[in-house]
Amino acid sequence: MRAPEVTVIDYGVGNLLSVERGFEHCGAKVIVTADPEKILAGSKVVLPGVGAFSNAMDALEKLKLVSVIHEIAKRQTPLLGICLGMQLLMDESEEFGLTVGLGLIPGRVISVPDRMLSGDVQKIPNIGWNSLQHSGVSERWTGTLLQDNSSGDAAYFVHSFMAVPTDSAHIIAHCVYGGHRVPAVIGKDRITGCQFHPEKSGDVGLKMLRRFCID
């Protein structure tokens, strides 16, 4: 069998090497590129991201990648947004004023609440491992990238903002931080977004990357 191919969009900052190594570990051939042609030719595309929302949107605009990502979504090519890459999938973000996003999953990016449900001060950014919980009515993740995972699996989060889909049916998994529900994996059609870093979440994350490769 030919190795699955994964195309990682390189639009500037962040640690892309770990994303690349994570997919390689899962047996994929990885192409890291900012070239619109190569991205459009990709059979599975990853939108990574670390840093500020508006900087990332600017970078995507400058590289003429916004329309490319829209085209990918239209063609139903599997697309995985990781961390900031997940937030970029939304309509808009409140980070440093309102910024328009890619608009692929309806909803908004808002700050992680700085108070716990109990009223105590919450540490921001949320840095650390947190357990994934089922969000839908189903107790299974069949047909999603979490298919091989179990409820309670812990993943590594690092973020100050969170993506909240308008339609709760788009939330596949969430974690609880300071009593608040934080969307952890969201999805619509062939688009998946995950707030945590699967490439930094040990075996739990690698299972998800492997599923993305074979799906």
Partner: protein
């Protein structure tokens, strides 16, 4: 309840994993990545690599070590030692690190904290502080791996650092480092009471039970461990169990 992170700290000199006492008298332990892989397989939540002679020579040599670790280690890695500019940080992050830890260069030029935080996000900018007690309830910032005093008060500095954009604090007690006497709880408590960002307590973990007080009384969000792991006095798995039994939240971990 927040999950306390169990972090393996690897101090590196040249190509070797080393360990000292009070950050001095460095002894060679072995290959950094053999140890790193072992700690990853034991379920370490993160790794910290510190080039402990880098600030002396103004260069960080960890790029190759981290790049090779990134092949089979899939937890966050923080790299520190001799990082002086946004360019240095860029290089280290491209090698597979997720965060940079900065001490000496930040003390010399505090705005570096803002530059890195603006460029890569505050979650990427770990303020590393080497603290030495200079009176009751008073600690001084040291630089160059515990060699140089600065006259700066730790509490004042940590507040300033967080205001400048540090997203996390790696707090090393030079007094306790390598002594196995337990953490400097008052230091950790004094710092975590002042800042809203996570604090990693480092220096002095002698036995697994030491984690309990530094979290419950000190308010630490994470603990960095070296000696206790390097000399096989305990394992991440054992420490996780001790933490669970004591009622501390830790990552749910099943070894593969």
């Amino acid at each position: 309840m927040r999950n306390i992170r169990l972090i393996a700290r690897l101090d590196i000199k040249g190509q070797n994993l080393i360990k000292g006492i009070h950050l001095e008298g460095l002894r060679v332990i072995g290959s950094p990545n053999e140890h790193a892989l072992r700690y990853y397989q034991q379920g370490a939540d993160e790794l910290i690599y510190m080039d402990c002679v880098a600030s002396l020579y103004g260069r960080n040599h960890l790029g190759d070590i981290v790049r090779s670790a990134a092949k089979d280690i899939f937890v966050p890695m923080t790299v520190g030692g001799g990082i002086r500019s946004v360019e240095d940080a860029t290089q280290i992050l491209r090698s597979g690190a997720d965060k940079v830890a900065i001490n000496t260069a930040a003390v010399k030029r505090p705005v570096l904290i803002s530059e890195i935080s603006y460029r890569f996000g505050s979650q990427c900018m770990v303020l590393s502080i080497e603290a030495k007690e200079v009176g009751s309830g008073c600690w001084e910032v040291y630089t160059d791996n515990g060699r140089e005093r600065t006259g700066i008060d730790v509490i004042e500095w940590v507040k300033r650092g967080v205001n400048l954009g540090a997203g996390e604090v790696l707090l090393t007690s030079v007094d306790r480092e390598g002594t196995r006497k337990g953490f400097d709880i008052s230091l950790v408590r004094a710092v975590s009471a002042e800042v809203s960002v996570p604090v990693i307590a480092s220096g002095g973990m002698g036995k697994p039970e030491d984690i309990i007080d530094v979290v419950n009384l000190g308010g630490a969000d994470a603990v960095a461990m070296a000696d206790i792991l390097h000399y096989n006095r305990s394992s991440i798995g054992e420490i996780r169990t001790v933490a669970e039994v004591a009622g501390l939240g830790v990552r749910h971990y099943e070894s593969a």
